[in-house]
Structures are given as structure tokens and as C-alpha cells.
């Protein structure tokens, strides 16, 4: 679609004042860019037959549905914020996609990172996955480009079927490039256990967020959104600029909004996050996807063993690492698990660290330092 002339901020100021200042605008990391530079960050292709009037009507219906699906009504909390679950922050740092329409990679990869941490109860687990592999390897193979963008569904198919390696194996830089990932990536990756479409189902979105930590969502971006710096966003001014993908990390029925993490750096919005009103800009009705679990295959950071466990079943010994929590020791053969148990027990008694290689919930290999 053609790039619109940049939004007049004086017009935005008066529009916000007319509406009672529902949110704040400011000079953000996006404001200083040209409109072309801003729009390229919107990497979810708009439907060819998009009808803005139809979109407005859909938004009203979606808002009503999201309000009706209150936490109380669906058995979820009335509010949830992954940044503060009784004091623990399970989100990973805000990133900056730069001048590339790779938002789908950032929105889906952040979902994997958050779900991995939250479902394991490990807010300090190092989780920095490679958006570069997602976009320049899996995306590019499916036709994704910085200028053309991509969609969350095929991205999550790739996360489920192939997996995503960690950032150190293919660091992200903005701009179409070859898939130059470390050849060892199959031994250093995270996979989605599965994924499910939650589009047009606000109740399921809330339940997923409360249970698994995050949901991927796309929405229609209007020009005023680039200057958002805080509050509950509602479109008040400017034209439709494109489609964007983010990760939802919470909701608040009292404020009537979703809480999301963007990929435009910490100089935009509420330190990189934003709140958007229920029903606004198609946030519940366009490419919403939930991931109910992940698996890891990687060396974990060195950590202390805080607990060991076994019961009457053969080959069923578990160790509790200070960073990872409970993991089952290799159960291929009794002597293998027994050897691991002895090594970990010795490390535990010494208070020394161990290195664990996790393969889908099982310790395949270890170092006792």
C-alpha cells in the first residue's frame, strides 16, 4: 500500500485533547524516522480486500466480546502482567527490529521465550532466541523479506517442526541476508510443543496468557501509534499505515486493555511495552496464536544442584538445578542414571556447579566441575 504523508503531531495533540487524553504521545524512537522507515517495520501484509469501515465495526464487536470475557467469567484472573507475577518478571528484554519488516519473527520468538520461562517457573533462565534464524532462514525459505513481511502461523509451524536456535548462533541485524546460522544449531534450540489459533477468542487469549505467559497477536497500525508513549492506546488520528505483530504479555479488565511488548526498542512506548484497548485495531481478531509449551535442547548455564529425587520406578531420578528447576536424568539405562546421580550428588555435597545438557526435559550429559 502507498506510504501516507507523515502525521501532523499538532493534529494528534488536538485529537487527543478532544478525546480527553486517553493516552500520551511524545518524541519516540520512531518519531525521528521518515514515514517510509516507520512503515517498513510493519511486516504483516494487509488483506487485499481490507475495508476500514468494516474494520471499525469489527473492533466494536471485538471490544464487547473481550469485555464480556472478563477474567471472572472465564475462570482467569481479572488482570495479569507477565512482568510482575507476584514479584517475578518472566519477560525477556525488549528488542529493536530495526529497518526490516521482521516483526513476525520478534512477536513469535518473544512468545517462545516467555512461554519457556513461565511454564517452567524460571524467570532467570537465559532465553534469547534467534529472530534472525526465524526470519532469514525459515521465513526467507517461505518467501518472507524485510519489505514484504511474513505471518505468525507459518513462523510457528517452523518453531514447532524445526525449532529456533539461540541468538549467539545467529545474531540479528536488520536487512535481508543469507541464512548464516551456526551449523551446531540443532543442538542449541527451542521448539514449540504445538500452537493454536486464538483469533476472535478473547476468552481463550486471556486463559492462554494467564496459563502459559504470552500470546502472539497482530493488529492494524495507524499513524498515531508511532508517537505513543504511555496510557491505554486507542486510535484517534492518522491513516492506516500497515499491519504489525507483537507479543501480548498481559491484560487488565479494569482498564479494559491488553498489555504488549513491542520490538521498537525501549525508547518507544512504556519502555518498549504498550497497553491497547480491548477491540482496538483488530488486536483480538487478526493472527492471534498461542503456544502451550516448549522444549529445549541445549547446554544450560552452570548451576547448583539444590535437590535430588527418586521413587520406586526404575530410571526415574530427577535433579533440581538452581536455574532450571527439576529435570529428569537420562533414563535409557539404570547404570547411566545412577552414574549421573552419583556425580550430581557429589557436586551437591561440595556446593559446586554443574553443567547440564537438557534434551526435551531430560539431562543427556553433564559436567560436575
Amino acid at each position: 500500500m502507498p506510504v501516507l504523508p507523515a502525521l501532523d503531531l499538532a493534529e494528534l495533540r488536538s485529537a487527543l485533547a478532544e478525546k480527553g487524553a486517553p493516552w500520551r504521545f511524545a518524541y519516540t524512537s520512531m518519531t525521528g524516522l521518515t514515514e517510509e522507515q516507520r512503515v517498513i517495520r510493519l511486516g504483516v501484509p494487509l488483506p487485499d480486500d481490507l475495508d476500514e469501515e468494516q474494520l471499525r465495526l469489527q473492533s466494536e464487536a471485538a471490544a464487547a466480546a473481550a469485555i464480556a470475557a472478563s477474567g471472572e467469567a472465564i475462570g482467569a484472573p481479572v488482570s495479569f502482567d507477565l512482568r510482575n507475577v507476584s514479584g517475578a518478571n518472566y519477560t525477556t528484554p525488549v528488542k529493536d527490529q530495526g529497518g526490516c519488516g521482521s516483526c513476525v519473527a520478534f512477536g513469535t520468538v518473544a512468545t517462545l521465550e516467555h512461554v519457556t520461562r513461565f511454564t517452567r517457573g524460571t524467570p532467570s533462565l537465559p532465553m534469547d532466541l534467534s529472530e534472525a534464524q526465524m526470519f532469514y532462514c525459515w521465513g526467507a525459505a517461505a518467501g518472507a523479506t524485510c519489505g514484504g513481511g511474513w505471518l505468525p502461523e507459518p513462523a510457528l509451524d517452523a518453531a514447532r517442526d524445526k525449532g529456533i536456535t539461540f541468538e549467539d548462533y545467529f545474531p540479528y541485524t536488520a536487512g535481508d541476508q543469507a541464512c548464516s546460522v551456526n551449523a551446531d544449531w540443532p543442538n542449541h534450540l527451542c521448539k514449540a510443543a504445538s500452537w493454536q489459533s486464538l483469533t476472535n477468542n478473547a476468552a481463550a487469549m486471556k486463559q492462554y496468557i494467564a496459563q502459559y505467559g504470552s500470546v502472539t497477536a497482530c493488529f492494524y497500525v495507524y499513524q498515531d501509534f508511532f508517537s505513543y508513549s504511555g496510557g491505554v492506546y486507542r486510535h484517534v488520528s492518522g491513516g492506516l499505515a500497515g499491519g504489525h505483530c507483537v507479543v501480548l504479555v498481559g491484560f487488565d479488565d479494569n482498564q479494559g486493555c491488553w498489555i504488549a511488548k513491542n520490538s521498537w526498542g525501549t525508547g518507544w512506548g512504556e519502555s518498549g511495552f504498550f497497553r491497547i484497548a480491548y477491540g482496538e485495531c483488530g488486536i483480538e481478531s487478526w493472527h492471534n496464536c498461542g503456544v502451550p509449551g516448549t522444549t529445549l535442547r541445549t547446554w544450560l548455564p552452570n548451576q547448583l544442584i539444590l535437590g535430588l529425587w527418586s521413587n520406586e520406578a526404575d530410571n526415574n531420578v530427577w535433579a533440581y538445578g538452581s536455574i532450571r528447576g527439576w529435570l529428569k536424568l537420562d533414563g535409557i539405562a539404570t547404570p547411566t542414571g545412577e552414574a549421573m546421580l552419583l556425580e550430581l550428588a557429589a557436586a551437591k555435597s561440595r556446593g559446586s556447579q554443574v553443567g547440564l545438557f537438557e534434551n526435551v526435559g531430560t539431562v543427556d550429559q553433564l559436567y560436575a566441575w
Partner: protein, 159 residues
Amino acid sequence: MMAPKSGTPTMKPPGTRGNGGTAGTSAPTIPDAATAGATEAAPYGPTMQPPGGAVALAGGDMAAVGAPTTPSTAEVAPAPTVSVTGTWQTGVTVDALWSINQVRNAFMRVVGVGWVKLYNGSDGAFTALTTLASQARQTGRPVNYRQEADGMAHEIYLW
């Protein structure tokens, strides 16, 4: 000194007095042959959190933060194949061990409880539980254990 025919520990650790019964009196009252394999395997995973371990993970009490306490979907171990109805002892210490040259026959002595036989239904489970008990004895670290109606410890957490 000959071991008693019942195959249970009779000695006390040096310098100790009775701590919950004369040594050997908490021994199984049914023959080993009947006990061995009497309980089916229950290959589920641990559900408790170590004292203080949750702090290291979550920066707060796990129960308080409401965070998941079970492994993620892909890691969840199979549900128990038998109902777990045993009695739990928590935060106790092991101050003695005993074993004899019979098939899978070892006991741990728990302070305040007495001698408790370790589950002997299979080599793998017996060896793992014995290792945990030995480590508990060596380090003096607290354990939680589940004792079933057969008198044996079927499950041990070593913290």
C-alpha cells in the same frame, strides 16, 4: 557378629541411644519375597520444591508467586500408575545406614523415626534410593520421604 535372621538392622550408631524404637523393630513384618515387587512402578516426577530453591529460580516463594510447579507440557512425566497413599515425613535427617548380603536389603535410620527399609522392588529404584539415603547420611542434609503400607520408603527428596 551375626546378623539377625530377620534381616533387619539391630545395631545403633556409636554414642546414640534409642531414637524411636529399638534398632530393628521397625523392620518389615512381611517376608521380602512378598514385599519385593508388591508395588507397581510409579514413574511420575517430583512435585515439591527445595527449601530456598524456589528463591533462586523465581526471586520469591514459588507458591506465593503462583508460578507453575510442574514441568511444562512436553516434559510432564506420566501420571502415577498407582495411587500414592503413603505417609510423608519431611525435613528429617538420616543418621545411620544398614545393609546385608541379601538381595536388595538396606535400611536408613531416620532421626526421630527409626529404621526404615528402602524400597526393594527393582535394582534401579533400590540403587537410586540407597544413593540418596547415603548422600543424606554423608551430608546431613534434610530429606522428605514417603513410606508406604509395606513399611518401605518408596520416594525420597534430598535437599
